[in-house]
Amino acid sequence: MVGDPGPYLLLATILFVIGAFGVISRRGAITILMSIELMLNSANLALVAVSRFLPAAGQGAGIPDGQVIGFLVLAIAAAEVAVGLAIVIAMFRLRESVDVDLARLLRW
Amino acid sequence: MDLFLVVATIVKVALVVVVVISAVPVLTWVERRGSAFMQLRLGPNRVGPLGLLQPLADGIKFMFKEDIVPPFVYRPFYVAAPAIAFVAALLAFAVIPFGGTLMIDGREIPLVILDLDVGVLFLLAASGMGVFGIILAGWASNNKYSMLGGLRSSAQMISYELSLGLALVSVLIYAGTLRPTEIVEQQIGGTWNVFPLFVGFVILLVSAFAETNRLPFDLPEAETELVAGYHTEYSSMKFSMFFMAEYINMITGSALVTTLFLGGYALPFQRSVFEGWLGLEGNLLAVLQLASFTLKVGFFMWLYVWVRWTLPRFRFDQLMRLGWKILIPLALVHVVWASLLVMWGVPA
């Protein structure tokens, strides 16, 4: 039993960084969405890992809070993907491609 | 690690896998004979007495057919797809209890591979993964029909997964636990869930049928329209794996229904008749329970076949409408019904 969340958190960090890198470096909207999912997932991992090793009310280590928050993050992630994909579809309708750089309407 | 426990588990896994896989040829035989019987024709009777060896022949045929791998396919996913589908289907059996507890040289062995606290959820997860198999198959074979077939079947599975989940939820609320063994124990003690939650039973049954892409929901493979759906490009062994995956899904579905609604391995009037009057317990009881479980699953398997050869195929929009506009609202109502029951304190 690995005693403390150190390694888990490190893994979470690495995943987060990969996700962030994906968001920045890729041009495809879908890939960006997936990278975001990756980041959210790593956040969940960190949450659960830490809550697992915190001292519980009774004896032993582990409190449910991490998982509950994780659950909420999951729900939000799902909502985010739903809306994100809707936007991607709308964009696709307009631009015939999901290349993010084409969405430059904000630039004057 | 407790060596005894490890060995017992391995044995159980081996047992289940062998039984389930061997059940598939039997099922094909039953299907062919059943459909023939229903259509007042004979069905395969050349190979072995009453055509019993026909499935064997098919198996051998599948084994030795040339495994053509079209060049334009995306090889990794093309190869992985059937495996995923097959494994996902089998995985579900890990949590289904098919018997009581055996007593072997003083050690109890519960007749379930993995008695998980979140057993039912595991089952849902496993069936969820099945979808990927189909999607990847459709995509990897790189042709329009298989792609569309894959899309359609995954769309169908997703929507019916919803109603399946809701039906499950109502049972869980009623039972108050996600552990399959506990659900069965409750039903042994009390009445089978099928009686108080009959509507849930029907919804689950219909969703299970849809999940397996079996007629009347077998639109993806509808020969007339989409050639052979997602597995058009597959041949020989891979095709047979899809074929077997389908049948295993059928078994899993019926096992799920029996466990949740028909008391799983519970013998009818077990407490009063068998334990009470006959005074049975221990291994004998477990074996009897195993038998009852198999019988119930068999009945549902026959039901699959029966339904397949009687009901006409749904149009895709009818299919979707049934899924979204009828089953899901009904399931929601049923969830409310189940919680009301719990509120009134109906369950034992």
């Binding site: 962030a20 968001v23 920045i24 470096s25 890729r26 041009r27 960006i32 993010v100 750089d101 969405a103 430059r104 309407l105 904000l106 630039r107 | -």
Partner: protein, 731 residues
């Protein structure tokens, strides 16, 4: 009758309101304007006479009334010189003020409120008579002078307002009311100087009358600034502005106050105000230009009344000045310097009114000299006599100007004796008086000042010498003016010469009255020394009446060797000492314990007195002779001398280039400073504001670069921010 004291200034004020109001509305025709104005002025004169008559009878019968209504009336204590105060109005109830404790009593809160009080004592009585008497005469005279002017109600209204303000100033019971009068007269002088606001006054400098008015007002204001500071300092030390309370406070702890730097400072500041008002050296430049106004104005305001306000103020604050020898020394020096400087300038002027203006400045210098050496009585007496003969001179010049086609230039006059005998004789009598011929008033007052400046402890031979020189110059330029105007051939152009004739009787009658006054008034205050020369006892009524009011008290009152204390020391301190000629300056008499020998003069020996008397005659005749030599006769020799004295003449004519000096020293730097500050404001203040705008715009430009519109760039900055945040948190 005394209780109606406060009505005196009210009469001319009412006159102003009536004449001004109705005149503006166009209801008054010319004769009624004049009648109303004169009536108002005469009313104040009559009221003044009655009040003074009652006052002369002593104030004791009002003591009961004073006890009954202490807040309204106040009477001086029996021993004190007679003084009656009436407070018709509580003007500014200020409440508590904190005193700085400079008077040794520590910081304390004192209730202070400024009341509108009028007070009368002998000094005020004299001034009242002078102001209202001469004022009324000049009102009469200006009827003739202003005849035919349209819209002249404006002139008479301002004149009445001036009378009201001057009377307020004179009757003031405390510094606040005095300051109101002080500013009021300043305002009226501005209004009256600028009466002919369109005419160009001085051809050479292009100065219009309005500019002259502004110049007068500004210079006065600068002086008033000093005066105001002095007033405030007084308030902060004594907590009161009331003259009687001030006198009692200072005399009360006079040992503490004698020679204190604070009192000297206040004295100098007040005197600075006086220099502005009475045209002394630093701030006299406005008086010659004030001649832009009509001549009666010059006569009334710039000769008789307003300019004397400074001297009156010094006399009123005599208690303060007695206790600060430093301040008195400043007054004396400035007075003597002004007398000399103005006299020199007077000699080189061709404009008759400018000559008289400079002579006024010079005579005022004499008065200041008198006050400076402690001869307050002599200063006031010279003020009175000067009022008479200077008014007569101005009005005489006025009638000459009126007749000679309104030109002031003496070079166009000459030989007017034949056409204007009355003007000539009155002018001549006044000139004799001002030049200091023996029996006339000028001699009596001016020589008393010169004598005191020599023999008084505060005086010094240097002051006396310069004073005498100035007196000599006075007689020279006065006779120069007489000869150039009335003697020799007439140099005015043809059309002027035909209609040359005597002024109307209303003007000449006033001239005659003033001339008689100038001649006889001297007898009221014959100085002790002179009367002794003729073996007659001390008949100096003026000294006897006025001395108690302005006498020094407390430590400063010097009982010269046994001659009694501070009671009325008779003027005739006979003292037989050494040989004739200028009595050498007696060795500084040792200061008695607690006493400072200041007030009493050394007792000049009979021979010294005789010497002075003879010297006065000598000075008079030298001035006369020189003027006669230079200017009398058909062809004035002065023109012949002109080339050789060209430089001196130009210097004096250009008034020692003082105006140019001021321009360079004060006005130019002021403009430079304001230019500098405007530049500062432009560059720094506006700069700062523009800077902020510029930075915002710049930052806008920079941030614009981040808005690339590319989602990934936003993500990049987003992540960078996140990393930074995490780093900060984890640190």
């Amino acid at each position: 009758m005394l209780t109606y004291l406060w009505l005196i200034p009210l009469a001319p004020l009412a006159g102003f309101v009536l004449v001004g109001g109705l005149g503006m509305a166009g209801k008054l025709r010319e004769p009624w304007v004049q009648r109303l104005a004169v009536l108002a002025s005469a009313a104040s004169f009559v009221l003044a006479v009655f009040v003074i008559a009652d006052f002369a009878g002593g104030v004791d019968d009002y003591r009961a009334l004073a006890e009954a209504q202490p807040s309204k009336y106040e009477v001086s204590a029996p021993g004190e010189p007679a003084r009656f105060e009436v407070t018709p109005l509580r003007w500014m109830p200020v409440g508590d003020i904190t005193l700085r404790g400079w008077d040794g009593d520590g910081v304390r809160q004192v209730a202070f409120s400024v009341d509108w009080t009028f007070a009368i004592d002998t000094l005020t009585a004299i001034m009242l008579l002078v102001v209202s008497g001469i004022g009324t005469l000049i009102h009469l005279y200006s009827i003739g002078y202003m005849a035919g002017e349209e819209r002249q109600f404006r002139f008479f209204a301002y004149l009445n307002l001036f009378m009201a303000m001057m009377l307020t100033l004179v009757l003031a019971g405390n510094l606040a009311v005095l300051f109101v009068g002080w500013e009021g007269v300043g305002l009226c002088s501005y209004l009256l100087i600028g009466y002919y606001y369109r005419q160009v006054f001085d051809k050479e400098s292009g100065l219009t009358c309005a500019d002259a008015g502004r110049k007068a007002f500004l210079t006065n204001r600068i002086g008033d600034f000093g005066f105001l500071l002095g007033m405030l300092l007084l308030l902060l030390t004594f907590g009161t502005w009331d003259f009687s309370e001030l006198a009692t406070a200072i005399n009360g702890s006079s040992a503490f106050w004698y020679g204190s730097l604070l009192l000297t400072g206040i004295g100098v500041l007040l005197f600075f105000g006086a220099t502005g008002k009475s045209a002394q050296v630093p701030l006299y430049v406005w008086l010659p230009d004030a001649m832009a106004g009509p001549t009666p104005v010059s006569a009334l305001i710039h000769a008789a009344t307003m300019v004397t306000a400074g001297v009156y103020m010094l006399a009123r604050m005599s208690a303060l000045y007695w206790h600060s020898p430093g301040a008195m020394f400043v007054v004396a020096v400035i007075g003597c310097l002004t007398a000399l400087l103005a006299a020199t300038m007077g000699m080189a002027q061709y404009d008759i009114k400018k000559v008289l203006a400079y002579s006024t400045v010079s005579q005022l210098g004499f008065m200041m000299l008198g006050a400076g050496v402690g001869a307050f009585v002599a200063a006031i007496f010279h003020l009175v006599t000067h009022a008479f003969f200077k008014a007569c001179l101005f009005l005489g010049s006025g009638s000459v100007i009126a007749r000679c086609g309104h030109t002031n230039d003496m070079r166009l006059y000459g030989g007017l004796r034949r056409w204007m005998p009355v003007t000539y004789w009155t002018f001549l009598v006044s000139t004799l008086a001002i030049a200091g011929l023996f029996p006339l008033s000028g001699f009596m007052s001016k020589d008393e000042i010169l004598a005191r400046s020599l023999f008084s402890f505060r005086g010094s031979p240097v002051l006396w010498a310069f004073g005498t020189l100035a007196a000599g110059m006075t007689s020279f330029y006065m006779f120069r003016a007489v000869y150039m105007t009335f003697h020799g051939e007439n140099r005015s152009p043809e059309h002027v010469r035909e209609q040359l004739r005597e002024s109307p009787t209303v003007m000449t009658s006033v001239l005659i009255i003033l001339a008689l006054g100038a001649a006889s008034i001297g007898l009221l205050g014959v100085p002790a020394g002179v009367s002794r020369l003729f073996g007659v006892g001390d008949i100096n009524w003026f000294e006897k009446v006025l001395h108690p009011v302005v006498a020094a008290r407390g430590v400063v009152a010097a009982p010269a060797e046994g001659h009694g204390g501070e009671h009325v020391a008779s003027a005739g301190e006979t003292h037989h000492a050494g040989d004739a000629g200028v009595a050498e300056h007696a060795a500084e008499t040792p200061v008695p314990p607690g006493g400072y020998l200041v007030e009493g003069a050394q007792h000049p020996s009979w021979s010294a007195e005789a010497g002075l008397f003879v010297l006065a005659f000598a000075v008079f005749f030298t001035g006369l002779g020189l003027a006669r030599w230079a200017y009398a006769g058909p062809q004035p020799r002065a023109e012949a001398l002109a080339p050789r004295l060209r430089f001196v003449r130009r210097l004096l004519h250009r008034k020692w280039f003082v105006d140019e000096l001021y321009d360079r020293l004060v006005i130019r730097p002021y403009y430079a400073l304001s230019d500098f500050f405007s530049a500062v404001d432009q560059r720094i203040v506006d700069g700062a504001v523009n800077m902020t705008a510029a930075t915002t715009e710049l930052s806008g430009q920079v941030l614009k670069l981040f808005g690339t519109g590319v989602v990934r760039h936003y993500a990049l900055w987003f992540l960078a921010g996140a990393v930074l945040l995490v780093w900060m948190m984890m640190r």
